[in-house]
Subunit: 557 residues, 2 copies
Amino acid sequence: MPETLKLAEYLFARLKQLGIGAIHGVPGDFNLTLLDYVEPAGLLWVGNANELNAGYAADGYARIKGISALITTFGVGELSAINAIAGAYAERAAVVHIVGTPDRPTQDERRLVHHTFNDGEFGRFAQMAAPVTVAQVDLKDPRTSPELIDHALRQCLLHSRPVYIQVPVDMVSVPVSAEPLQSQIRVPLTERTAYSDGVIDKILGRIYEAKQPIILVDGETRALGIVDLVQRIAGITGWPSWTTAFGWGLLDETTPNVYGIYRGRFDTDVDTFIKGSDLVLCFGPHFSTTNSYASTSIPKAEATVYFSHNEVKIGDQTFRDIPALLAADQLLKRLDTSRATTYYKPPTNLSRPRPSNYSEALKDQPITQASFWPMVSSIVRTGDIILGETGSAGHGCRDFSLPRYVRTFVPVTWLSIGYMVGAAQGAALAQRELIAASKYYGIPSARTILFIGDGSFQMSAQELGTIIRHNLNVTVVLINNEGYTIERVIHAPAFFGAKEDTFTAKVRTLGEVQGLLKTEAFRSAEGFKMVEVIMDREDVPEGPLAWLLQHQLKKTK
Amino acid sequence: MPETLKLAEYLFARLKQLGIGAIHGVPGDFNLTLLDYVEPAGLLWVGNANELNAGYAADGYARIKGISALITTFGVGELSAINAIAGAYAERAAVVHIVGTPDRPTQDERRLVHHTFNDGEFGRFAQMAAPVTVAQVDLKDPRTSPELIDHALRQCLLHSRPVYIQVPVDMVSVPVSAEPLQSQIRVPLTERTAYSDGVIDKILGRIYEAKQPIILVDGETRALGIVDLVQRIAGITGWPSWTTAFGWGLLDETTPNVYGIYRGRFDTDVDTFIKGSDLVLCFGPHFSTTNSYASTSIPKAEATVYFSHNEVKIGDQTFRDIPALLAADQLLKRLDTSRATTYYKPPTNLSRPRPSNYSEALKDQPITQASFWPMVSSIVRTGDIILGETGSAGHGCRDFSLPRYVRTFVPVTWLSIGYMVGAAQGAALAQRELIAASKYYGIPSARTILFIGDGSFQMSAQELGTIIRHNLNVTVVLINNEGYTIERVIHAPAFFGAKEDTFTAKVRTLGEVQGLLKTEAFRSAEGFKMVEVIMDREDVPEGPLAWLLQHQLKKTK
């Protein structure tokens, strides 16, 4: 007789095998029995304040740990989360969305239960999930449930995009075969072939000819699983290297040939140099207008080799079925650096993030966008995670100079305002788990720092409660430029359950910022902290955001 | 040359014609130009804290004023609201969901803009809206836009369900014909025919035979536009009358033959009487399990005439294309009360809501579910709106004895926790508009009272900010049964911007409740107030909720 276990046990064992340590979500009566199996499986139940935030958190967790899981309830719960799932699809976060659904008899008999449209139709919400997920499975048969789960999880990993798994209440504890658990779920690998070797040959040919080659790392590099490979290519070539905003933090900016974010037309010297390059190796391209400084940071096709999900593009030729993972690996193995232009000297005018120019003479000056970001850059430490919400925070924080192993979340494409609060919870939890498992570059302590405006903060503020309850190392820097004169935001930690000794502060002048940066209670990574920064309403970071706002204003008029 | 106006002007003129005075929603860059036309059209822009809450608020507003409008932005905004739209579909609230979308060139050229999946596909979100709306139109052609708008609005009114209107940015100010505005949008009326007369004859035949007829009013009665007709039928017949939870408040409970909510098996005397009835006129049936006390309050088919959206059902015979409006109107016109059993004496044991049995001897007693609801019933005044969130509040408040013209929101079918905070904002605004227009039964002042547990409150708490900013007459009674010992919830009003002199209170004993009920600052309708009520965690209102929880617990084990 084959060994069996309960369906919920199978599902959670699989998630654990994939490295998931915690499950995000919100309880509801169609998922309650499923939730009973979370902690016995050795998984933490996060229990978010609402489903949209839970989805954001699962997305943030997945971007740090590679994959995450979210549990909601039929109809009301899953639809509340669907915008977060869509964002995970758009920007490639591997979220396993598990939905507890009514039992099979209720569905089969078309009973008029709650969380439906009172019409006996149970298929609508799966239909709505389809456009935002790469696999949808409904576990209604014990014989096929393990293979459907495995299929969904493989799709999730392969595409680094959400999948949708429906679990009827009466399926939770049915026995299923334990046998598949003997082998791990893996992304199907592509082996090298004569065809792929030929494509690598072409790329090597371009490399050996290039006089001014550069590297541009976009954010899908993370989803493609080639971050380390790309870092090594940048290391052995010494080529001048940039990231996009989406890719920011994936390259080690403390190495001399890594310059930070390429800002297209908003940084003339860099732009001129990159436009003059005869070869751009571009990894994980994701050139939405918002991730490419209004399309001005897209390298010209004829000089570029693109490494994408399952294809390589050289100039205008596309070579399909060559995953970036295969291509980057082969490139690294076969590159003969002695035949390439390596460690050449680019012009000295290529900009890097500016250091703070604070002096005591400025101490009574009000805080401006231009002065604040370079100053606050100094709080970022090795291994920290930085989040800047869509708007001035998401642009301003790009002035930071990043220590090693810093991961960033800034506006890319989906730009759902409010996302960053939930994402901060998920990212901080993933960070803590990695540190606890000694899988965080040997770093013993780090924190997650969220920069957000007060308008954005309000969209999903209740997730502070989750951050506080799980005692996560999250620092919230709230940019208050609405000019509120009453003491308002500072009530948030108390409302959401923070202990009385929680660090909070409010700063209005550059001197106060400087004082804050020197305060040990603020500098330490441990626990939840919240700081309010008062700025002028009309102040916007110089550069692309100011340009976009003006541009949009013109179009409107 | 025909007269024209801008598309946005046309759209908002139509909304205004339909009685909409305010538009709910959240700004986003694809709807900003559209929002410029809201106030010039004489409409209030509400500006909610997030889109899900905005959707809830639009739903609440629609249930009080008949129809509402919601504006969100493409992708992120509309998907955040979609759970609220689904709820409006399930429980029949006429919400016009207007989505600002990218301009036509951007869509036609498949540009990789933000709020997309970076793949040039712009049709996904309309596809996701289709299952939860009764019409979807995309205004891409000035020649057809007026008729598409009119079609969508007519569908919205006819079904009292949401519709979906996409407005590309570059369509906002295109000129369209003003001519259709000369005629109002109306629900197509059905005229009486020999066929419909025959059906009414059958109903009258049943009525004239009946010895123990009763009336049961369910919540779709509101959406069917027959509330007044049904009240008049109850008035001229004097038949014992009940509502469901969904229909609660639609009949005047101050008249002697109206008994309140029929609770199925949870009220034995009433149940026995209704089961013994030989004729039930049932208006607007919506018998989900949660709205029918686990299906026990559904009258037996052979004794029942059902009046539904577009059909009448007599016993097991369905007569299509007879709208409830036609049937109820004809019934009222043709009913010869001298041939019917009217104003008969039902048994005296039929229960009504219990009055409070508070005495000074109880003043130090802790507050229990059993004691609290009958006591607090006394704060409800003529014209108030009562909301009880899914859970103990939504069941407990059913013990209230309702003055005239009180409307209620309790858990029906969709049961999306967090809904009631948004709905309170929308309902209170609709109430204020009706009072200001002297269309509120001559009532000069009334308020909206929300009863909610602290766990539910947190899901959408930020909408307090909107309630406070618009200075709505909303009283929040927060049932805190989580046993928090720190001062937590009381920070909410300050965090969400309430003035320092806002009325807040916290009560722990029956004596404190009694004191509160006598406090003039609490009793007055004006402005925002918040009260926290401490109860025991394990305490649940007796009756159906306790039964359901036990029942569920058993099934789980």
